[in-house]
Amino acid sequence: MTVILGIETSCDETAAAVVVDGRVMRSNVVSSQVELHAPYGGIFPEVASRAHIEHIYPVVQKALDDAAVTATDLDAIAATRGPGLAGSLTVGANMAKGLALAYNKPLVAVNHLEGHVYSLWLAGPEFYFMSGAADQPDQTPPIAFPVVVLIVSGGHTELLLMHDHGDYQRLGGTLDDAAGEAFDKVGRLLGLPYPGGPAVQRAAQSADPAAFDFPRVWLRGDQGERNFNFSFSGIKTAMLHTLQELIPGYQPDSPLPEDAPIADLAASFQQAVVDVLVAKTVRAAQDFDATEILVAGGVSANQLLRQQMVQQAERPVRVPPLPLCTDNAAMIAAAGHYRFMAGQRDDLNFDVVATWPLATPAA
């Protein structure tokens, strides 16, 4: 049995968690800076590393307390090394190094994107969807390689082929904005609160997804060659144009008239993004004979994305339960477990890395 403490501070969340054998979550603490700020009008989370410094000690202590373990019980400490904001990553890495030194524990540096992948290995009731039984999560059989992984969040949109633990082939990624960023920016154009993902989904409920025709960007080659890259910058601009046509004198951040078709706009936008994400992921799974499709990251919380992926996948689809879609440390501990079992040990002087692709481009 391995007991691993995971620490994650790559972006806005300060998080710590204790995970047993890479699958069983004993605790999962996220000091969501979004939550802290929501009561004050939904301004942006405090992005400064100062906030991580304030949160890191109580968050780690709570993760240990909730799991009913002490630092001496740990087999290893896993921390996010990158990609992310250097100043923020350093806070979590230094905490991990301090604990590793003080308690003489092995240290495992983890890629944040690999953490999202391993959120799918954490045991939970909502993980496994079979086509044909769209909304019925099943018992969770072990994941069989190769699998296609779509990581889709505010900062990342990556399509990977995973051959084995730690063995990734990058099929594509966004050329401009991440899918979650498109949700945030379009949410803002529509006057919806931050973060845009849940707000757009809520606004889109029971609206017409075909009311407006937003672009689906396929990036096919001149001869129609397949392309597993994404582009979500144009759809934001298309939304801006549509609003300017509908509402004379519209400018971003200006109040929308009461009769503006916000729900239909939100639904049509969401449909366009989901169409592209699902079609490219399913096509990749077919082309590379993947046994399953895994979807992770904040946007994997989107209900339309989940439904449509399951309907079109023709193979099992795994999606994390909602609390594990967004950044958390349980996924870092889970990825850390597999790295630890493979023999990875990192020095106390490892550097954080702001840019760290998970895999090299597919040949």
Binding site: C11, V47, A48, A86, E181, K185, T355
Partner: protein, 164 residues
């Protein structure tokens, strides 16, 4: 202080990128380019061109979430930082996030939403306001403050004329 302005009309996204490539090709370590404009005004397209023209090994993607993206070029191992201050609440955030320290490095810096950290910016900088004209075209109003950015602006103007 010396300052001068020029106005350019970009006809399309690819025109904006071509202008960016021109500008990227003449940038030197220490240059600061500020890109100001609303959502969809072409800041990221211009930056994509700048990074390409400068010689970045990777294509530039949006730094809105990551705040700072860094690119290196094989030629001389120099760095280009692409900063997005959209999510910063204050200039204090910019200091504690480490953005301020970038100005001390011998690197090229492109900043979106620069008005959020204006007091931290170096005096000599090229400031470009991008505004939406119609579906395709964008107006680029460039203000050079200081000797070095004046020369950048002159080169950008020459380049624009060859493109047109």
């Amino acid at each position: 202080m010396m300052s001068s302005t020029e106005s350019f009309l970009s006809q399309s996204v690819s025109h904006t990128e071509a202008l960016g490539r021109c500008l990227g090709g003449v940038l030197r370590p220490g240059d600061v380019i500020c890109l100001s404009g609303q959502l969809g005004s072409g800041k990221t397209s211009l930056t994509r061109g700048i990074a390409q023209g400068w010689g970045a090994a990777q294509a530039a993607t949006s730094p809105t979430f990551t705040l700072i993206n860094s690119y290196t070029r094989q030629l001389d191992e120099l760095r280009l930082y692409h900063v997005d201050a959209y999510r910063l609440n204050s200039e204090l955030d910019a200091v504690t996030t480490g953005i301020e320290e970038l100005f001390d490095e011998q690197a090229v810096i492109v900043i979106e939403w620069p008005e959020r950290l204006e007091s931290l910016l170096p005096q000599d900088r090229l400031w470009i306001d991008l505004t939406y004209q119609d579906t395709k075209s964008r107006r680029l109003q460039a203000l050079a403050q200081g000797e070095h950015s004046e020369s950048l602006l002159t080169q950008l103007k020459q380049c624009f004329e060859t493109l047109s």
